[in-house]
């Protein structure tokens, strides 16, 4: 294994930790708004780490740029879908959970 491989694997493991944390949040959090938070935010960071690992490991610049483009698109789509679902939920009259 080269240094690049070790570094890439480390980045993937860190990325996977964020995905697991997000999934735990999705299962454990009390309402739509908090679950959206758990789903979209860690995924952005987690995929960022995984994409970084893939990018430094790829032999061609074109491949590296393509996986980075995938990540940028996910950032845009995640941000919008989070807002849209939250707004649709709000419009239906569902209010955020609060500890009483």
């Amino acid at each position: 294994m080269t240094v690049i491989d070790v570094l890439a694997t480390a980045l993937w493991v860190v990325g996977a930790v964020f995905f697991v944390a997000g999934t735990v949040g999705l299962l454990r959090f009390p309402d739509v708004y908090t679950r959206l938070h758990a789903l979209t935010k860690p995924d952005n960071v987690g995929l960022g780490f995984i994409v970084s690992g893939l990018a430094i490991q790829s032999s061609e610049l074109a491949v590296a740029l393509k996986v980075i483009a995938v990540w940028v698109l996910l950032l845009v789509v995640n941000a919008v879908s989070c807002q849209v679902i939250a707004r649709a939920t709000w419009n239906r009259g569902i209010r955020p959970w609060s500890r009483r």
Partner: protein, 314 residues
């Protein structure tokens, strides 16, 4: 195959039946639809693992993306509560279960007993030079079995007509309650969608990709524009829509029939211009298939149209 590959495949093979079971057993339609999208993504992964990147691309774009959007849209027409189905009798369930298990076991036994790799990949590779394209899947679709693809396009156009007869389209009313985000997303993504579709289409001659994948991506972009209320759903009364619908079929038939005039066979491309003709068919097909797929998508129900059973509208 490494141990990690094996673990991944076992997880995939376990997740798929569980997802199917949850889709069928789920009491409300909204969760069934979400799980169906998840199943589409897992299937795409499975196709990729089976070294079928073309089918994986189509499955991800059509199976998960477009079909998911269509089913979600259908929910907005019939109301998410319309999911209660009649209970099926125990005898029927047991009978169907035995039948399905028998077929499944039979198929599994048949596959395990295959002694040698089957398929026509070897023959296709041997004759690839005759097809005038470099990628075997495109060669089969448009050259060796062009007749099948021609008929498929005719079926698709007919299906679009049928879909519009049943759901005649809607008038978007008022402001988007979710604005401005979908509109911004549509604005950002539309150029990228066109770029990706063109890329998939162009690569189809030499690598995974082609008309179907490109059309699915374009149609996805179109649905986003309709949902964001940038575009109205395409109307059958528009001449441009009609022309786009039949362009692929008409051009395909023209190219297929032209050799007949010179005494050649149906679909026998003249070898000097075969590659250009195949690419021109792919471009026309991309346009038509994307409009066909978009025609399946009726947009949002007009006010008062929602939550009524489709039959009541007539």
């Amino acid at each position: 195959m490494t141990a990690l590959d094996l673990v991944f495949d076992v997880v995939l093979a376990t997740v798929m039946p569980v997802l199917v079971w949850r889709i069928l057993a789920s009491k409300d339609l909204a969760s069934s639809v979400v799980l169906f999208v998840a199943l589409g993504l897992v299937s795409a992964l499975a196709w990729a693992r089976l070294h079928a990147p073309d089918i994986a691309l189509v499955e991800a774009a059509v199976g998960a993306g477009l079909t998911g959007a269509l089913l979600m849209n259908a929910l907005s027409w019939i109301g998410a509560e319309a999911g209660v189905t009649e209970p099926v009798s125990r005898a029927t369930r047991v009978g169907v279960g035995i039948l399905v298990t028998a077929v499944g076991v039979g198929l599994a036994v048949a596959v395990i007993h295959l002694t040698q790799p089957v398929g026509l990949a070897h023959e296709v590779d041997a004759r690839l030079a005759d097809a005038h394209v470099d990628y075997p899947v495109t060669a089969v679709l448009l050259s060796f079995r062009g007749y099948d693809t021609l008929l498929e396009i005719a079926v698709l156009v007919t299906a679009a007509l049928g879909a519009r007869l049943y759901a005649p389209g809607s008038v978007p009313g008022g402001d988007d309650p979710l604005s401005p985000h979908p509109r911004v997303l549509a604005r950002v993504l539309t150029p990228i969608v066109v770029l990706v579709a063109g890329y998939l289409l162009w690569r189809g001659a030499s690598a995974p990709g082609g008309a179907f994948q490109a059309a699915a991506v374009l149609a996805g972009g179109g649905i986003l524009l309709v949902l964001a209320r940038v575009l109205r759903p395409p109307r059958m009364s528009s001449i441009a829509v009609r022309a786009a619908l039949v362009a692929g079929l008409a051009w395909f038939i023209a190219v297929a029939a032209l050799p007949l005039a010179t005494g050649a066979q149906l679909l026998e491309y003249p070898s000097a211009s075969a590659k250009q003709l195949i690419i021109s068919i792919e471009v026309a097909l991309t346009l038509s298939i994307s409009i066909v797929l978009l025609m399946f998508f009726p947009g949002e129900p007009a006010p008062g149209e929602a939550a009524r059973h489709p039959e009541d509208r007539w």
